[in-house]
Amino acid sequence: MTNKVIMGFTLMLILIVPAMSLHASAQTSQSYTITGAGSTFVFPLMDNWRVEYNKIHPEIMLNYQSIGSGAGIKLLEQKSVDFGASDAPLSATDMQKAPGVLTLPESIGGITVTYNLPGIDKGLKLTGPVIAQIFMGNITSWNDPAIVSLNPGVNLPSQKIVVAHRSDGSGTTYAFTDYLSKVSPDWQTKIGQGKSVPWPLGTGGQGNAGVANIVKSTPYAIGYVELAYVFQNKMTYAFVQNADGNSFVEPTLDSVAADAAAASGSFPAADGDWSKVSIVNQPGSNSYPISTLTYVMIYKDLSTVTGETQDKSSQVLAFLDWIIHDGQQYASGLLYVPLPDSIKKIDENGLAEVTFAGGAVPEFGPIAALVLAIAIVSIIAVSARSRIGFNPKI
């Protein structure tokens, strides 16, 4: 009789406990889709992060739409993505539209001045003001005295300079014109700084690839593209005079990182006003002066985002924490500049401020451990009980 009760009880447990533990484990492995949108510049790196993060956390999917920084900020303002990514910081008006947004630098880009001069290798020496005069159309020939005097011994051709620039609004243009505005008052007053500026001359190419294509296929052309593009396409590029004026710096991952590190002392906190932040033209003998930060932007209170749950917000945080730490190792392989420690620190402080509806976002680790522990205990219990129950009585 008691045996029968035990049998029945065991059977019940056999049916219920696995169901419960299955349910519990289903919760731990519930998949989340983190959504992000914005910068096309950071897309190759973001896509790599998606793949690598998915290997460690198969339950996390990242859906990143590289629709352009401006559109990414718009989606962030509409609260329809978990994070936005932008090559330019939020402007003052954007900050009013999306109050409480944290700005987290997530990678660094360098911009090279690339040219196509038959017979001349990389390393033409240029200063900021000379670059500005070329892109304004005041220096029109390659053997202009201003260029020749910087490059003694280089046989510069007497050919017209063909200027290529970006036709689409872009963070690359923003950073390039930021630099030119800082080094050339002439540029500052006549043209200024922006994602698209009124170019007085030249041909516009779409995207970095478009400008790279024009410069590569056109002798005597000059243009500006992201660091990665010149390396990938084996293009020739100029060494640019540093802010100190004592050397011409070759654009490399190291020299761009040196520039960013030199600037990081003056950065605001993640919830501060980043609209004036610029890392161009920083001191240091090995600081390549034309560089830019790209940012991930999230709401300080993640419950602001439509459809956000507490569980998911902790996943978003875990992912962002991963990209600024472990994720950085994938940057240099794709020719992005890894974050220096000083900038990582700003990001860490920023992420620590994130809340969900006013409360701290729970760490995911302890919950997962708890659920797993319960599951294991119940499985052991079941197997122990079932051994009693199913041992045939002889």
């Binding site: 559109a71 063909v162 609004g169 698209s196 009124p198 170019w199 041909t203 516009g204 190419g205």
Partner: protein, 322 residues
């Protein structure tokens, strides 16, 4: 023997038919109205700020604090680009259509017509990439550089640095893109001319050209105008391929001053700058305003086309209408 039994029409099916048909017709109207309302409200800011100088000005500056917008260079660019493309493609298309309808042996007619329609189905980005990576180098080396060297910078239309990304290349590729559209419609229209007309002309001893001139052309005139306008509509609105090839100058630099100078069209400036224009700002309003201008231009083209067709139909009573 086949016999068709017809039920007496029930009033309900009739009502459903009426409802569905009216609904479908309203849909088109509703979409157009929504487009107009959206474009107008979206661009209201720029009209308030710039007024008429948005149409006549040539400034295009989106730098914060210095914003100023004028779409005149892009309006000109669109007209010049589409104009050159039409000048190349219309004679070519009519030639193709004439060959197919009047001269081609029956055996050749169907496959050739199919090939032309296949060309119309090639996506514009493919034409754009081909133009950018392949075709422009030939244009540059075989046409632009020789012409430039021959006439030099003194000649206005061949001035500038010829390197392939300019109004000329964009127009030529655009012409290639619209030929299939115009040609295939023109062919259908010419084929629709009753054979009795041709036979009558032959009977009077007309040659093949004369048959075309006195029998086919008058009958198909209105349809050919319609086909041309359809091509023009595509040329004005074409975005992808043109953006890749026209060189994308902005502001005063985009005025089509020379065939070999980079330009910009209404469609391409939107494609270039829309994604990164700051939301709710004047820049976005200006781009929506450009969209409104393009919409009105397309509207005007269609109205003119209808008027033209109507006039031709009137003067040739009984002509074939496309």
């Amino acid at each position: 023997m086949i016999s068709v039994k017809m039920k007496k029409g029930s009033p309900i099916t009739d009502k459903i038919f009426k409802f569905v048909a009216i609904g479908a017709a309203t849909y088109v109207l509703a979409i157009i109205i929504m487009i107009v309302v959206n474009l107008t409200t979206g661009s209201a800011q720029i009209w308030q700020q710039e007024g008429i100088s948005f149409l006549t000005g040539s400034d295009w500056n989106s730098v914060e604090g210095r914003e100023s917008y004028g779409a005149a260079p892009y309006i000109m660019g669109t007209l010049v680009n589409a104009g050159i493309a039409m000048a190349i493609s219309v004679p070519l298309s009519f030639g193709i259509a004439m060959f197919l309808s009047e001269l081609a042996p029956k055996l050749l007619r169907t496959p050739l017509a199919m090939v032309i329609e296949l060309l119309a189905a090639v996506p514009s980005v493919v034409y754009g990439l081909w133009g950018l990576l392949v075709f422009r180098l030939y244009i540059q080396n075989w046409i632009e550089v020789p012409l430039h060297n021959l006439f030099g910078d003194q000649s206005i239309i061949f001035a500038g640095t010829p390197f392939g990304l300019d109004i000329f290349t964009a127009s030529v590729v655009l012409a290639i893109m619209i030929v299939p559209t115009i040609a295939s419609i023109s062919k259908e229209i010419m084929l629709a001319v009753p054979n009795s007309q041709r036979e009558a002309a032959y009977m009077l001893g007309a040659t093949k050209w004369e048959v075309f001139r006195i029998a086919v052309l008058p009958y198909s005139k209105s349809g050919l105008i319609g086909a041309t306008i359809l091509g023009l509509g595509r040329a004005v609105g074409e975005t992808m391929a043109v953006t890749m090839l026209i060189g994308n100058a902005t502001g005063a630099a985009a005025f089509p001053s020379s065939l070999f100078a980079p330009g910009q069209t209404l469609a391409s400036i939107m494609a270039n700058e829309f994604a990164e224009a700051s939301q709710g700002g004047l820049h976005l309003a200006a781009l929506v305003g450009v969209g409104l201008i393009l919409f009105l231009m397309a509207f005007a083209i269609n109205v003119v086309a209808h008027l033209l067709v109507a006039r031709v139909v009137k003067s040739h009573e009984g002509a074939v209408l496309a």
